[in-house]
Every structure is written in structure tokens, then in C-alpha cells.
């Protein structure tokens, strides 16, 4: 067995062997730890919000605090957790391993991107203590309110600006890596599907993030100098803010979901011992989602005012996105068909991903239809929908990835029984928490309100209880993973019998990944 990358610390020692390391595996783990920390912050904020909504009227906080909580919950969960969750952490750790490279194309830029990320994180959290109080304009920063509020919106917008750099640098690094550093024989169609999804994601990051950067800067200029682009009093138009914001922020949801789909495409063949069904279809559908996803942003603005032509066009294009997503779901199910299925924890999370993502996706189609959209716009239906795709989709895939690659990262096995129990609690808690929101929204409960009429009490109460169940499950999962890192059984190099390259090196991988760059002669899901 070779010396693992934990032992080979490079030029520096102690903490510096991590925060000054250019090893993609160490940077991946830096990302993973910081992402998990922000996830815990986001979960805590969410739990507090649910606690407030346990009963009508003021329960534990006033309306202003609630506004700050939902804004920060959104900013932390979207910019600091779910966007980099799989791509920056597992992408960094496993992309070079999966294509047979020793590192990414630009290792120092890779480290720089983590510094941008962590700076943004610190800035975002510091808004809690900034003069004026935490931002209360929501994670979408809609003008004109975001211009006139005295809370620290500028600081939060600056955090979003900075995290954009991290995203762009990761994106261009990964694209160059995939183009330039594939091992000999690793043709485009021998790449694992996770790599394909990371590739598509990286393109979206490069295509969309600069627009967010400029719109956040303009918002700050608007607040500092009163430039007036988004201020009707000065001849500007708030709708322009919404357009520019969603030109980034809609493609951003594909930054969140595409790597998740890649993880699922890697796990399902391994746990059903069959080669993936429709490899090329899945690979191309990733690229299609990345392409079409770029031109559907207008569906966030059906109620804001746009021409009839724009409405049906954006609605139509949004329906189109369902096709590549459907292609993936059917191919995953077809892969499972007649496989010899091993119901391990990664597969349990993957299967629940398919189930929850389908609910989220189909309710997404309901939102895509203009007439329905106008009815449920800005209600809990939307809240339920995007939590089903983002948490039920990307979040569950993140947990799946966490369990699937855990033995490779730590060299040990987690406790399978505890992991399955945790999965069951998380799955039940998730549905109890978010499903009532569909009903609430359909009945007319608007989002972002800290109070509600009496008739909504039961559903809100069930939802809040669900949040406790979900949190319990997450705690059990994390405790299991942390304890197993010290006490778990030795995993061996390839506990799941995976055929992709990362399973062919020792666990944890050696510092330079491959003693000799492998020669690739078969596909990633060839188990014979």
C-alpha cells in the first residue's frame, strides 16, 4: 500500500499543510468541511424559522428577525452550500482521480478559489453582526426594496459577488482539466458520467456567473451612489434587475442539480451490478440541460410583467428542460431493471433522489404553465417545489455521494445499519416537513410571512414537527460518519466493486494519485 495523501503533507505542516496545499484532494476536503459548516448554519436558521411558524402570531421572534432569517437561510444555503456542495468538494476530490490525472490543470488557482469561497462565507455570516442588522430582502435581493432597506444588503451582495469568483475559477479549471489531462485511452465516451456532469456544470458556471457578479456590483453602486438603473424615480427599471438576476440564478439551479445527477449516474450501476443504460443519452442530456437551462430564466417573472410572447416562449422552453431530465430518470430506472441490486445506503439515497426529484420536477412543470404559475406564484407551493428539487434532489445526492465515497476518502467503512436508520429518518422527516407546504401553497399561504391565518395551523405544525425529525436524522447521519472515521472497519480499496478509476487506487488515495498514469481500455461501468 502506498502512503496516503494524509501522511504526505507536502511543503508545509500542521494546519498549513491544508490551507496552503495545492493537492486537489486536500482542497476538496477543505471545501467539504467548510460546506458542511455552512450547511449546519443554514439548517439552524431553517429550524428557527420553522419554530416561529409552529403557531400563528409571534412565537419566538418578531417579523423583522424572521425576514432576516429567511434571507440569510437562502443566501447561506444557495451560495455557500448547494451551489458548491457536490461540484467543488467531490468534484475536486474525484474529478482528477476519475480521469486518471495527478491533479487539476491549475492547482494554485484551485486553492485561490477556496479562499474566495471562504471569504464570501465569512462576509455572509458577518452580516449577522453588521450595523443595520442582517439583510432582510431575501436571497433574491429584489429591487427597489433592496435599495432602500437600511440592513446590510450591500455586504451580503458583496459576499455573493466574491463567491462568484470562486465558482468561475472552479469552472474554468475543471473544463481545462477535462480537456487536457485525461489519461491515455480515456476517450470522451469512456469518462464516468460524474465527469460529464461536472463538465456541463462548469460550462454553466462560466456562462452565467459573470452576470451575477455585475448585477451584485450594480446593486451595491445603486445603494452607494444612487446610479438609478433599477430605481423608477431615476428612470431605471426594477424589472431589469430581475432579468439580470435570473439570467444567472436560473442556470445556477442546474449548477446545483447537474453534479447531483452525475453522482446518481455513478452510484446506480455500481449498486445494481449492471452497466449504465443509455450512457450517451445521459451524457448528452447533461449538456442539453446546461444549454436549455440558460434560456428559461423568464419563468421566474411571469407575475412581474412581461409580454404575452415572452410568457409563452419562456413557458415553452421551460417545458423543454423536462425532456433531458426525464431521459435521465428513465435511464436510471432502466439500469436498475434486472440488475442484482444491493440496497446499500448510497443506493437508498439515490432511489429517494429519483422519487423526490420526480415530485419536484413534475411540480416544476405545474409552475412552468403560465396560468397555474400566476395562481401559485410566491406561495408555499413554490417553497415546497424548490425544496423538493434542491434538498430532495441535490441535497440527497450530496448525502449519497458522502456515503458512496466515504470509504475512499477515509479508508474506513461507516456503520451500515446506523446509516440506513439515519436515511429512513431523513427521508420521513423530509416529506413530513415539505409535503404539507404543497397543500399550504395551493390553499394560498404566501411565502416569506412570519404569521398566518388560523386555518393553516395544522399543516404548519406538521411541517415544523417534520423539521425536527429531519434534523434528528441528519444528526444521526453525521455522528455515524464522524465516529466511523475513527472506529470503522478497514474499507479496502474497492468496497463497492466500482469500475471507475478512483476505486483502483488505494484508500485513502496516495498523494500523487497514480504511481503510473493508467492506460484506459474499457468503459467506466464495465464490471466484467
Amino acid at each position: 500500500m502506498q502512503t496516503s495523501f494524509y501522511v504526505a503533507h507536502g511543503r508545509f505542516r500542521g494546519i498549513f499543510s491544508w490551507i496552503l496545499s495545492t493537492d486537489h484532494k486536500r482542497i476538496g476536503l477543505l471545501y467539504l468541511c467548510s460546506i458542511l459548516s455552512f450547511f449546519i448554519v443554514g439548517v439552524t436558521l431553517g429550524l428557527l424559522m420553522r419554530l416561529e411558524l409552529f403557531a400563528p402570531g409571534r412565537t419566538i421572534m418578531d417579523a423583522q428577525t424572521y425576514n432576516a432569517l429567511f434571507s440569510l437561510h437562502g443566501i447561506v444555503m444557495i451560495f455557500l452550500f448547494i451551489i458548491p456542495a457536490i461540484n467543488a468538494s467531490f468534484g475536486n476530490f474525484f474529478l482528477p482521480l476519475q480521469i486518471g490525472a495527478r491533479d487539476v490543470a491549475f492547482p494554485r488557482i484551485n486553492l485561490l478559489s477556496w479562499y474566495f469561497y471562504i471569504t464570501a462565507g465569512i462576509l455572509a455570516i458577518s452580516t449577522l453582526f453588521a450595523p443595520g442588522g442582517p439583510p432582510d430582502a431575501g436571497w433574491t435581493f429584489y429591487t427597489p426594496y433592496s435599495i432602500i432597506t437600511t440592513t446590510s444588503v450591500s455586504l451580503a451582495a458583496f459576499a455573493a459577488f466574491v463567491v462568484g469568483f470562486s465558482s468561475i475559477l472552479t469552472g474554468l479549471n475543471f473544463i481545462t482539466t477535462i480537456h487536457r489531462l485525461r489519461a491515455p485511452g480515456m476517450t470522451w465516451f469512456r469518462m464516468p458520467l460524474f465527469v460529464w456532469s461536472v463538465y456541463a456544470t462548469s460550462w454553466v458556471q462560466i456562462l452565467a456567473t459573470p452576470v451575477l457578479a455585475i448585477v451584485m456590483l450594480l446593486l451595491i453602486f445603486e445603494r452607494m451612489f444612487g446610479v438609478g438603473f433599477f430605481d423608477p424615480a431615476k428612470g431605471g427599471d426594477p424589472l431589469m434587475f430581475q432579468h439580470l438576476f435570473w439570467i444567472y440564478s436560473h442556470p445556477a439551479v442546474y449548477v446545483m442539480i447537474l453534479p447531483a445527477m452525475g453522482v446518481i449516474s455513478d452510484i446506480i450501476p455500481v449498486f445494481s451490478r449492471r452497466t449504465i443504460f443509455g450512457y450517451k443519452a445521459i451524457a448528452f442530456s447533461s449538456m442539453t440541460i446546461a444549454g436549455v437551462g440558460y434560456v428559461v430564466w423568464g419563468h421566474h417573472m411571469f407575475a412581474s410583467g412581461m409580454s404575452e410572447t415572452a410568457r409563452w416562449l419562456f413557458s415553452f422552453l421551460t417545458f423543454i428542460v423536462a425532456i433531458p431530465s426525464g431521459i435521465k430518470v428513465f435511464n436510471w430506472v432502466a439500469t436498475l431493471y434486472r440488475g442484482s441490486i444491493i440496497l446499500g445506503t448510497p443506493l437508498l439515497y439515490s432511489l429517494s433522489f429519483i422519487f423526490l426529484f420526480s415530485i419536484g420536477g413534475l411540480t416544476g412543470l405545474m409552475n412552468a404553465a403560465v396560468a397555474t404559475n400566476l395562481h401559485i406564484h410566491d406561495t408555499y407551493f413554490i417553497v415546497a417545489h424548490f425544496h423538493y428539487v434542491m434538498f430532495g434532489g441535490a441535497g440527497f445526492a450530496f448525502f449519497a455521494a458522502l456515503h458512496y465515497w466515504y470509504p475512499k476518502i477515509t479508508g474506513r467503512l461507516y456503520d451500515e445499519t446506523t446509516a440506513r436508520v439515519a436515511w429512513l429518518i431523513v427521508f420521513i422527516g423530509f416529506n413530513v416537513l415539505y409535503f404539507p407546504m404543497f397543500i399550504l401553497g395551493w390553499q394560498g399561504m404566501p411565502r416569506r410571512y412570519f404569521d398566518y391565518p388560523l386555518e393553516f395551523t395544522n399543516a404548519h405544525m406538521i411541517s415544523t414537527i417534520g423539521s425536527w425529525i429531519l434534523a434528528t436524522g441528519i444528526v444521526i447521519m453525521f455522528v455515524n460518519l464522524v465516529l466511523s472515521a475513527a472506529r470503522g472497519r478497514n474499507a479496502g480499496n474497492n468496497p463497492w466493486g466500482g469500475a471507475t478509476l478512483e476505486w483502483q487506487v488505494s484508500s485513502p488515495p496516495p498523494a500523487h494519485n497514480f504511481e503510473e498514469i493508467p492506460q484506459i481500455s474499457k468503459g467506466p461501468y464495465d464490471f466484467n
Binding site: 491515455p184 446610479v227 428612470g235 432579468h243
Partner: protein, 208 residues
């Protein structure tokens, strides 16, 4: 197959020229999109306030704008000369051309400074009292003028700083005829800054 393998190892252990360039082009692409957001605002408001954009644009100093255009295009020429010279191993020419580029870059910023100063002296800047008496379209025009030329100026400034770094690398022979990708990439960035200005000049100064 063996040749492919060796090439692969070369890419990893040594400098990957194509890879570096690819990364730079991707970065330039994001820069275009950054300015793209601003051009989008420009085009929307230009369509909305045709007359007022016309009036406001007439107040800009076309002569200074034209001089700046010439200065920046010439700096792109000297930049290209610098890259070509080091490829052929002519360090002396490369250094002096790069020095000229930096000089032109600074010249551009100085002219820009006086242009802004004159406008600000007339009370034409976002938030000024005089601005409230102007029609809304003109206010938006001046805001766009400051934000877009400001963002561009910031890019020139960053460019000058990077060029200074390149100059030291060049003089310490860290950039030579075998390894000139840093200088070449800086050149690409400098041309981007130039191209953006080539659009800004007609948009703000000529379309009156």
C-alpha cells in the same frame, strides 16, 4: 500509444501551453459576459430614451475619447510586438515594447481622469443635485457612462499592474523564448480591454 503517453506525462510534469491558453480564453469569455450585462442595460435604456441619450452623448468630449482610442489601440500594438519579440528571443525589444504598453495604459487612465473630472465639475455625477433637474434618460446615460467606463478603467488599472509584474518577470528572465505563456496571456487580457473600449467609444461618444 507510447507517444501519446509521453505527451500526457509532459503535460502534467511540465508546462501545458495549450491548457494555460484554454484557461485564459475561458476567463476572457467570462469578462465579455460581465460587460455583456452592462451592454444589455445600455441597449434597453437606449431604446427607451432615444432622444435623451442623444442629447447627453453630445456633451461628452469626442476629441478626448478619440485620443484615448488611439492611445489604447497603439498600446495593443506594442503589446503584440512585445510578445512576438520574446518569442524570437529579442528580450531588449520585448522589454521596451512592454514598457511603452504600460506608458500608454497609464496615459489612457490620466486622460480618463481629466475627462471625469471635467464632468464632475459640471455636477454631472450620480447623486449630484444638478442631476435631479435633468430628464430621467440623461441621468441614466450619465450613470451608464460612469459605471461602464469606470469598470473598463478598473480593468485597465488591473492590466497595468499585471503588466508591471510581467515586466519584472521579463527582466529577471523568468519569461523567455521557451516560456512566454504568462506574457502571451497578459497580452490576450490587454487586447480584451482594448476591444471593450472599441465598443464603448462609439456607444458613448459617437452615437449622438
Amino acid at each position: 500509444m507510447e507517444a501519446e503517453r509521453t505527451e500526457h506525462l509532459n503535460q502534467e510534469q511540465q508546462r501545458d501551453y495549450t491548457g494555460s491558453k484554454m484557461g485564459m480564453w475561458l476567463f476572457l469569455y467570462t469578462e465579455f459576459l460581465l460587460f455583456g450585462g452592462l451592454f444589455l442595460l445600455y441597449s434597453v435604456y437606449r431604446t427607451r430614451y432615444v432622444e435623451q441619450f442623444h442629447t447627453a452623448a453630445a456633451t461628452l468630449d469626442t476629441v478626448l475619447g478619440a485620443v484615448n482610442t488611439v492611445v489604447l489601440i497603439t498600446s495593443s500594438l506594442t503589446m503584440a510586438v512585445s510578445v512576438s519579440a520574446i518569442r524570437k528571443g529579442d528580450r531588449k525589444l520585448s522589454v521596451s515594447a512592454l514598457f511603452l504598453t504600460i506608458l500608454f495604459g497609464c496615459g489612457f487612465l490620466v486622460i480618463k481622469f481629466f475627462e471625469w473630472k471635467a464632468k464632475i465639475a459640471h455636477g454631472l455625477f450620480p447623486g449630484a443635485l444638478e442631476m435631479f433637474e435633468l430628464p430621467q434618460g440623461e441621468v441614466i446615460f450619465y450613470s451608464l457612462y460612469y459605471v461602464i467606463t469606470g469598470m473598463h478603467g478598473l480593468h485597465v488599472l488591473v492590466g497595468v499592474v499585471v503588466l508591471l509584474g510581467m515586466l519584472t518577470l521579463l527582466m529577471r528572465k523568468k519569461i523567455n523564448e521557451k516560456d512566454f505563456i504568462k506574457l502571451e496571456n497578459t497580452g490576450l487580457y490587454w487586447h480584451l480591454v482594448d476591444i471593450v473600449w472599441i465598443y464603448l467609444f462609439p456607444f458613448f461618444y459617437l452615437l449622438t
